[in-house]
Symmetry: C2
Subunit: 380 residues, 2 copies
Amino acid sequence: MRLADLPTPSLVLDRSRLMRNVARMRARAKELGVTLRPHMKTAKSVDVAKAVHGGATGPITVSTLAEAEHFAKAGFSDMLYAVAIAPAKLDRAAALMRAAPALKILTDDVEAAKAIAERGKTLGVRFNAVVEIETGGARAGVDPTSPELAAIAATLGRAGMLAGVMAHAGHSYGCDGIAEIEEVAEAERAGVVAAAGFLRTKGHAFDLVSVGSTPTALHARHLQGVTEMRPGNFVFFDLFQHGLGMCGAEDIAVGVLASVIGHHRARNHLLLDAGALALSKDTGANRRIESVGYGLIRDPGAASPREDLAVLDVHQEHGILSARRGLDAIDPLPFADWPIGRRVLVMPNHVCMTSAMYTQYHVVDGGDEVVAVWDRVNGW
Amino acid sequence: MRLADLPTPSLVLDRSRLMRNVARMRARAKELGVTLRPHMKTAKSVDVAKAVHGGATGPITVSTLAEAEHFAKAGFSDMLYAVAIAPAKLDRAAALMRAAPALKILTDDVEAAKAIAERGKTLGVRFNAVVEIETGGARAGVDPTSPELAAIAATLGRAGMLAGVMAHAGHSYGCDGIAEIEEVAEAERAGVVAAAGFLRTKGHAFDLVSVGSTPTALHARHLQGVTEMRPGNFVFFDLFQHGLGMCGAEDIAVGVLASVIGHHRARNHLLLDAGALALSKDTGANRRIESVGYGLIRDPGAASPREDLAVLDVHQEHGILSARRGLDAIDPLPFADWPIGRRVLVMPNHVCMTSAMYTQYHVVDGGDEVVAVWDRVNGW
């Protein structure tokens, strides 16, 4: 099967780009002397996880219990479920540990830590609980040397359930320039290492000291005291990461294959059969790349996006393709070059959101032949 | 099972609200003297479609061929696939017509019309093709008395495949006030009726003269010359429709059940386990309701949303619940009243987008008991 034979919209993954991105991050992890625990919130695919680990079922990060269950079935055992757990989810996590005994759960709250310890005791399960540390992201976590951290660790430690500390510098996405990302990465590292040291002086023993995010993984000056990193987006990259300077446009590995389904000459736009559901409504990349709208487009076979057109508006199942702002107006568009049925790849604004609408990747390998179909796990 | 037993996030549908919304729109269709062909792009559920039709498999509108196939399996035959068709989809539509002979497809392009006629002839299928009319929405369609419309109709008519005309006044969503919606509804009606008249004077015969959108269905002054209407959102409503004045907050039938998973006292916010994927990144309702963010919250059992808090930011799996702007600051939040594990319903900004992330509705009937589980059909 070829791209021309696929239904549209379909999610297309270029394996040659994926493998290049993976090789780059593996080299970074090696250079930094840490384990690579890729975050599967982006790809949600067993095949992608194995690609990162050279075919093995290595350590991964997951964002939902549905992911954890899916990966456990595929033989992955060492998983960090990196969203603070609600006590009502503990039974499901405990059941999962039969297949995946190295599952790790997360908390940043002393009441939740008590619930973990008590429920584990009741169920006869020794949960591996990691404590989330705040290092400037302003989302979640406790401060590295705070009484709250000491109380959480004491509760977990008494139950033999303290497995480590982690931080996620998600605010690296908001940085301006590499120097600022380096600073955020150092704060992420220093914060989590300080937390580990603080707890060790209190007699706690654990191995895992974990940091995250694609930008900080790419730009940390060093990761002394850290054992692992958890970037996720790097496997595919997207226009947001490109705008942030994390990758070239030719590194973006995923696109939405779409067909031209209409010409609107009076409004001077083309219609695609990929709209808000097929592309998502995330518009973050516009902060850094002018007139990206809901996605730039790439001709199948081309390395980089077209400069003339972008999906500048979306309805549920319609994408409106028109001349990018900031360029000389193209009026009228060359409609004859864009017959009904012509296909393009829409490059995702934010690939974690875009991919979430699909159950499969149609995989190509630099060309237009579909060489594999890889499943995704969605939902919770 | 009760709401307290469901995993979070889960999509919850209150059937008593659904049935009230349905009764209202059925009464409107009766009053206007037109057939109700509900648009299933919102609910994507056989159970909801049957609820609209009093248990029958009545006429529906669909936004994807995946929906059409799903509904055909459930016995629905009279379906309008209301997105302009790409020629590569014609074989799939033809196959579908074996189960659903009254399937209608859409076009607004003479080259596509030629492809429909030719492919139908080759396959031995008489497609039912509807022509999309532009009535001010600026998305798709041809002008009501244009040479383009005449050419498309001539092509389809020669093949015996012209089934009608339709318009969708999607720009009703951008109106300010009921008077403006009434004008848009009248333009939608007048445009499609003019197109029907124009084609009939040219000797074409067809029945279907169709208009759409929840706001115009609710506020058309009359629908003379129209045979049917295609509102979709009305089954559930959402904060956007509430802001537009189409419904009360107590009519919003769908919510995302979420759990508190964290307290961040330094930043004075709570964390929910419903983020960008569980809620979508649609923020349209903020145009009309101050400080909605990604959703207002409702306590299970309460009729209307809380006024104090809203989900003002989202990350992929985290919702950040904080004091709504424009109110007196609540600092600190009453964290003790919001223990880890407390559950709320997040009311959707735009329910078509929010629901798309779920494969099922957990159905309640005014209370907290889950009385049914209804499937959705996603994808393409």
